[in-house]
């Protein structure tokens, strides 16, 4: 029984050390840093902490880094995987609850900032509205009442890791929102776990506001494609 913590990191040398120190406190959790083509000392921070570091030759985006991490986890016989951001936003104290949900039979457990008993977390107007639309999109396509569909703080079971190591959509937004839809359609249970997220302790937010519309439309096309093919296959959904 071993769980792997996949930590995608792009230029996070300022915050990565703290995250790794907190993760080292958790028993039976093997961390792996996926250095997504950083130009700073991200890989050196991981190496100094004695943590495995997979270095991508160039930036593949969060989705690409996560998929690489999932494949590493499979190579190292992980039976569960949790994804933790390197920017310090995700509190490693919540990892146990996420993995617990997997042990209770869920395929995918999503750490939600907005679930009923989660801590306070403030987001700006545009972002908040975009998040609501995305939550509704997930509910419409799968019936799963997501409250934080874009949260990247997640745990998954071995079968889901095997599935996603092949199918993980690497585009921004698709790597969080579409994954929920794919995992549900593949017949796995998806649950939410309330978590408290912290302010980023370093690094830059990964999405700029003006790209949001493009990313949203791209996501819609991706989901529409999945629905279209799923319906025609009949048995796959």
């Amino acid at each position: 029984m071993s769980a792997v913590a996949v930590i995608p990191a792009y230029n996070e040398q300022a915050s990565l050390g703290g995250v790794l120190a907190e993760i080292a406190e958790i028993d039976g959790l093997v961390p792996v840093v996926v250095d997504d083509g950083s130009s700073d000392g991200t890989a050196a921070v991981a190496r100094n902490a004695g943590v495995a570091c997979v270095r991508l030759p160039f930036n593949l985006g969060v989705g690409g880094a996560v998929r690489t991490g999932l494949r590493w986890a499979l190579d190292h016989d992980a039976d569960r995987v949790v994804i933790v951001d390197a920017d310090g936003q995700h509190d490693p104290a919540d990892v146990a609850a996420l993995l617990g949900a997997i042990d209770a039979g869920a395929g995918l457990a999503i750490g939600s900032r907005f679930a009923a008993d989660a801590g306070d977390y403030a987001v700006g107007g545009t972002r908040r509205r975009a998040m609501r639309i995305l939550n509704r999109l997930v509910r419409m396509t799968t019936g799963f009442a997501a409250t934080d569909a874009t949260s990247g703080f997640r745990a998954m079971s071995r079968p889901v890791v095997e599935y996603l190591a092949r199918e993980y959509p690497v585009e921004y937004l698709a790597d969080t929102v579409e994954v929920i839809i794919l995992v549900r359609r593949a017949g796995h249970e998806v649950v939410e776990v309330p978590v408290s997220m912290r302010e980023r302790s370093g690094g830059e937010p990964s999405a700029r506001r003006f790209r949001l519309v493009f990313n949203f439309l791209r996501l819609l096309v991706g989901i529409a494609g999945g629905v279209l093919v799923g319906r025609r296959d009949g048995g796959r959904s």
């Binding site: 030759p57 494609g225 799923g230």
Partner: protein, 123 residues
């Protein structure tokens, strides 16, 4: 525009739209490129159903021969797409180059490690 031409154009536009979305679902086409083509095919549908839009737009912009507006717009759009592809190609080219270098360097490190292992075995 005749009714037959209108129907043909509508069917073709809808058909391409459907085909592009299906390719995305089959993971044969990345959704960002699909978006590029949908930007072209989706507006074609209202244009085919209401061809008067073209004439009115031409009049509004002061173009004598309205279809010329359509042709120049579509040429511009295609030019944009081709430039975008050149950009993507350049990026892909530099990435494959980097991958080749990366593999060569990994091979060299592997050779070094194997040689170091052999050295230890002999002594």
């Amino acid at each position: 525009m005749s009714a037959a031409a209108q129907i043909t154009l509508t069917v073709v536009a809808l058909g391409i739209t459907f085909w592009v979305v299906r390719l995305v679902g089959l993971r044969r086409l990345r959704s960002k490129y699909a978006l590029l083509w949908l930007v072209i095919t989706v507006p074609l549908v209202p244009l085919a159903v209401f061809p008067a839009i073209v004439d009115e737009a031409g009049e509004f912009l002061g173009v004598n021969y309205a279809p010329a507006l359509l042709f120049s717009l579509s040429s511009l759009l295609l030019l944009g797409i081709v430039i975008h592809y050149s950009w993507e190609l350049s990026r892909l080219e530099s990435r494959t180059r980097r991958l080749g270098e990366e593999i060569a360097l990994l091979n060299a490190r592997l050779d070094d490690a194997e040689r170091a292992d052999d050295g230890e075995g002999e002594s």
